[in-house]
Structure formats: structure tokens, C-alpha cells
Symmetry: C2
Subunit: 373 residues, 2 copies
């Protein structure tokens, strides 16, 4: 049997209430009491049961992270930054990989709902209305997608696509192809939209190639379709697809970037290591996670721990989630100051936070001058 607060109380010769106080708020007990409690706790190896605690406080100190596919290197980066920031505020992280199956998302959220204080949904694939059904229930921040009424953190796809198109245009490319990712992906639509605008603005030709899985295999499957178009450069929904394109294009004997230029999106960690190194649009993957956690913390501080209407007894007395400033001001670890102007913040008409992170084209070896035709 695990050691409980009662064991400590008995050994320390005080009541459980005092043990609780001594441990939670040492200032509210006599120094001697505090000391004897601390000694007893140490001696017994007592660690409070967070589960029991959460039952009464309504706070679990857990965060839920739901994402489509951990095998896509983009997501581990995001999860890692979420973890780091969550740990700073003493939150543990539940992880749920839905395997790109939109139907799994809602049950996954449901299963975790009672055990977490809030959710970070990374690139969720489920329909808006399904996700919206959780609106009143739990604080939710959405990453890489915008769904009213949730706060969101997204990347500036438009800006990224503009940079990519400007780059290709300068290299002489006039005919582009885009290999689209999952139909259910908001960011695919966002990127596609940005690309259309950018090409249209320059009067360039754009061929769009069907929806493929956001994987290397998906890219490989699209490569031959690309070769059948007049495109001299191809932009992929993400780096994995770009990598698959390169693979298969090379296998078909196409030189890259000699014959075809390839541009990815995300700048996953291996992008610079492949042959040729991938030109891609970088997103601040660490920022996404960090900013996401910060927004969620804010949201949870607003929303009472026990989700109830304002004015409820519980709502009134619950200690809210630690205010964001607590940790940011002079918390445990020093926080790197943000480079000024590095991120854009805004709120929509209802006051919902929408953070749009900047993107940056990284030019590497997979793009070059358009071939003579």
C-alpha cells in the first residue's frame, strides 16, 4: 500500500489537515509543525496522490496532446517543445496519436477529457463541428488550424508561399506544380490558398496534384504525375512528400535541381541532410508548442478548474492554473526573451487569440534555375 497523508499525520503527530497545509503552504503552519511534518514525509517517502487531489481541486495538472502521426518528424518537434514548456509549469502530458484517422480524434479527446485540464490539438483532422462539441467542456488550443471558437497557433503559410514563389520566379520558373496533402488537413488548404495567390499575382502557371498521404510514399506516388506536367518546379504540402518526390524523380532519371526544382514545407530536422538538401519553408516548430502551451495556460486561468458557470462555489474558491506571469516573470528557469517582432498576435472579433507565426524560406540545394525548354 502506498503511503498516504494519514500515515504522515500519524507519524508527525498532527492531523491530516495540518500535513496538507504544511506541504502545500508552509507559511500557514507553525515552523515546528512544518518541520515535523516534513521530516515524517521524508522518512516515509510520502508523495501526494495527484489523482485524489484532482478529484477535489478539479485540477489534474495534466495536458492532453492529440496529433495525427508521430512518424511525421514535424510532430515530435512540436511535442518536444510542448513537453518542455509544460514541465516548466509542472504539467504532465498525455499523448494520443490518431494515425491520421479523423474518426479516432473525438473518442481520443473524450477518453482523456476527464484527466486533463486542457487540450492541445495539433493539426486535428476531424470536422469542425465535431471538435466544436468540446467547446464549453474543456479549454482547447488548436495548433496548425483555425476553428472558432478555439484559440489557435498557425504558421504564416501565405508569407511562406510568397517567399517560395518569389524564389522560384527569380530562378526563371514559370510553370509550377503543387502536391497536395490530406484533404482533411486545414494547413494543406491554407498552404494551397497561399500558393494560388502567390502564383496568380505573378501570372504563373500552377498545376495541382491530387491529395496524397503526407508521407514519403505519398510523395513518391505523385512524382510521375509531376513529370507529366509542364512544371519545372514542384512545391509539396510538406517535407516528407518533397522527400518522396525527390526519391522517385531521381529514380526516374530526373536531375534535381537541374531538371526539376523541389520545395518542401516545415523544415523537418532531416531536410538539410538529404541529397540534395531540401529547399523548404521553415516554421518555428518549437515556438508552436511553446506558444500553444502559453495560450492554453491563459485559457485555463480564465476558465475555472471545475468547469461551471461563473459564480459557482467551486469556481470561486478554486486556485486557478498558475498565472502565465508566474513562470514567465521569474519562474524556475530563465526564459529566453523573444526576438522582438518575431511573432504576430491578434484576436478575432470575439476576443479569441489567434497567433500566426512567421515562416522563413530556407534555400538549399533542391532548387535551381529553370531548365531551358
Amino acid at each position: 500500500m502506498a503511503v498516504t497523508i494519514k500515515d504522515v499525520a500519524r507519524l508527525a503527530g498532527v492531523s491530516p489537515s495540518s500535513v496538507c497545509r504544511a506541504l502545500a503552504d508552509p507559511a500557514r503552519v507553525r515552523p515546528e509543525t512544518r518541520e515535523s511534518v516534513e521530516r515524517a514525509a521524508r522518512e516515509l517517502g510520502y508523495h501526494p496522490n495527484r489523482v485524489a487531489r484532482s478529484l477535489i481541486t478539479g485540477r489534474t495538472a495534466n495536458l492532453g496532446v492529440v496529433l495525427p502521426d508521430l512518424a511525421n518528424p514535424f510532430f515530435p518537434s512540436v511535442v518536444k517543445s510542448i513537453q518542455t514548456q509544460a514541465r516548466r509549469f509542472d504539467y504532465a502530458v498525455f499523448l494520443s496519436d490518431t494515425d491520421e484517422d479523423p474518426a479516432v480524434e473525438v473518442p481520443a479527446i473524450r477518453a482523456l477529457a476527464k484527466q486533463v485540464d486542457g487540450f492541445l490539438l495539433c493539426s486535428p483532422r476531424a470536422p469542425d463541428e465535431d471538435l466544436r462539441s468540446f467547446a464549453g467542456e474543456k479549454p482547447i488550443v488548436v495548433l496548425n488550424r483555425r476553428i472558432t471558437p478555439f484559440p489557435s497557433v498557425t504558421a504564416d503559410s501565405t508569407g511562406g508561399m510568397q517567399q517560395a514563389v518569389a524564389h522560384l520566379h527569380a530562378l526563371g520558373h514559370r510553370h509550377l506544380a503543387y502536391v497536395a496533402g490530406p484533404r482533411t488537413s486545414w494547413s494543406n488548404r491554407d498552404r494551397q490558398r497561399g500558393l494560388r495567390a502567390a502564383t496568380a499575382a505573378r501570372g504563373m502557371n500552377l498545376v495541382e496534384i491530387g491529395h496524397v498521404a503526407p508521407t514519403v510514399d505519398g510523395g513518391a506516388a505523385a512524382a510521375d504525375l509531376v513529370l507529366a506536367t509542364p512544371a519545372t518546379a514542384v512545391l509539396a504540402y510538406n517535407d516528407l512528400i518533397a522527400l518522396g518526390l525527390i526519391q522517385r524523380l531521381q529514380a526516374r532519371g530526373a536531375e534535381i535541381p537541374g531538371q526539376v526544382s523541389v520545395v518542401g514545407f516545415d523544415d523537418i530536422p532531416v531536410a538539410g541532410l538529404v541529397g540534395p538538401p531540401l529547399t523548404t519553408v521553415a516554421i518555428g516548430k518549437e515556438q508552436i508548442g511553446r506558444v500553444g502551451v502559453d495560450l492554453l495556460l491563459e485559457l485555463m486561468a480564465d476558465a475555472p478548474a471545475r468547469s461551471a458557470g461563473p459564480g459557482r462555489r467551486a469556481a470561486a474558491r478554486m486556485p486557478a492554473a498558475p498565472a502565465r506571469s508566474v513562470g514567465l516573470g521569474r519562474g524556475a528557469g530563465p526564459l529566453p526573451a523573444d526576438a522582438p517582432g518575431r511573432r504576430t498576435a491578434s484576436r478575432d472579433s470575439t476576443g479569441t487569440a489567434r497567433r500566426v507565426l512567421p515562416t522563413q524560406l530556407i534555400v538549399r540545394g533542391s532548387t535551381g534555375p529553370a531548365r531551358q525548354k
Copy 2:
């Protein structure tokens, strides 16, 4: 306020006890009762609070996964397979990334301990004795390391190194270098040991290069040291280091595999995509996670939910974790049959399970004939 069992009871016109029974074990209530309860639950959107439940049953239906670095592509693969298998048995997964800091591990485990039924420690870096302190407390399965008294799942490093060395020997290499990973890594020691044995058996020369971080940067940092040795081929602790080696070796003008052959370990997903494609020793990453979960489930079925000595009242009545056979026999999803002989199982003298998974050399482009000297 979330809907509780009382709300359902009120609407259904029965007691909370009956609601509990109706939902948990429909056979033990009158059909009419069952129906009215089910209707009420549906109408109210009732979902039992697993946290409250766990307080009394002692089961959380959560698993804790602790690993050193999600940024190493090896781990997402493992986590993904853990997730998949855990979901099959209706377990949720806590993830804790320790950032390669051995000191963070114990607190991380401690923090999760009360919220999980068991742990999967992936390549833990903490000292044996620290980890052993959890021995009686929670079921723990260790991945990529062996620590008495925990069951473990490891890869056959010796076999892998033998294959790699045989390959290099056949290509004419006689002088090898090894770039070692973290000092705290058990698998580094295991691989190093295997390599020493393999080279010694063939009378080959082996130079070992200090401990570096198991990252691309770590590999890059070791590259110049490698060039300063007579080695014509270098084996890296893992693929990330191998990738860094290749990067920097190429930057120094060394042709790969012309001048230097490079061999990695793990076969991370991108290994085949880099230039040149990486020759490496593959481990069944999906198997590691799956087998790990299976072992843990077994362990939890043995250990009572409320960790107490046998004979305790709680221990006697607690529903144990679902027996492994439940899901494996004809559970929710069909399970792919294991290829016969694909894995090795054994138990040490104390009956602790030790699974050693086979390794397989994957020959790609980063190895070739030894250069003339």
C-alpha cells in the same frame, strides 16, 4: 459542471449504485433498469470519471512512457508502436521526455507514478540503483537496457555488430573506428561490447572515439577525429551520429563510401533518404514498443492493482488488468501473427522476462570497398 453518476441516477429514477452496475456489468440488473439507465446516460452525455474510478479501483488505465529525446527519430517510432498497442487495450499514454538528462528521470517517474498502472522506460539514462528504487512500487518494463529486476526488451547488438563487421571485412576493411554515444547509455555499452568482440574475432583493428551526444551535431564533432585515424570505415552508435559524420566528412572532402565507409545503427526512417543512403543495423522499432507493452500488461496482471502484498483485501477483489490473452486471442482488432522465430524470448534465473529482438544489417550506399592505401 460535468454530468455525474448522480445526475444519471436521478434521471433514470434509480440509485447511483444501479447506474454503476448497469454500465459496468449489464447482466446484473433488470433489463428495464439497464435500458432506462442507458437512455439517461446517453441523453445526458454521461462519461464516467476515470480519475474518480481509479481512486477506488486502484487502476488508472494509464501507461507512463519515459524517454531521453523525442528529437531522435528512433523514439517516435517506438512511442508510436506503444501507443498503438496501448490503445488496443484501452490504455492512455503519458509521455515524458527527459532531454537526455539522467537527473530528470527519477522525478519524472515519481511525478507520474500515482497516475499510471505501469511504466515503459525507453533507454533510461539514470543509474541502476535509482531506477531500482521503484522496483516494488510499480510494474516497470525497460526498453533498450537491462536492469535487474525489471523485464526488458533489447535488440541483439552483438548479432548486429557481427553482421556489420562481416560486411566491412568482406569489403576489405581492416581498420575500423567506433563513435560512441552517451556514457549513460546502456545500449552504447552493449553495442560497443558487440563490436569489440566482432573485430577481435577477425583480428581487425578498432579505434574508439570518445562519447558524443547521440545527435547529428555529435557525429559532426567526431568526424575530424575519425579522419585522423587509420580507419577506412566508421561505425556510429546510432544513425544520427552517422548522419553527422557523413555531413562533416563530406564537408572535409572525403568521399563516402570511396574514402570512408559509414555504418549507422537503428535504421531510423530517413536513413534511406540521405545522400548517400545509410548502411545501418535495423532494429524492429515497432516490435520493441509492442513487445514492451505486452510484457507490461503481463506484469500488471500479476501485480495487484493496489500495490499491496498478496492477500490484502483490495488485492483480492480488484479486477486485474485485462489478461494478455483477452486482446490477443480475438480482441477488438485483428493482430498480425508474428513471423515464427522472429523473436527470442527468455527468462533469467529469477524468472524475469528478457526479450532480445533480432537485428538486421541493411546495406545501402554509405559502405563500399576499402580504399587502396
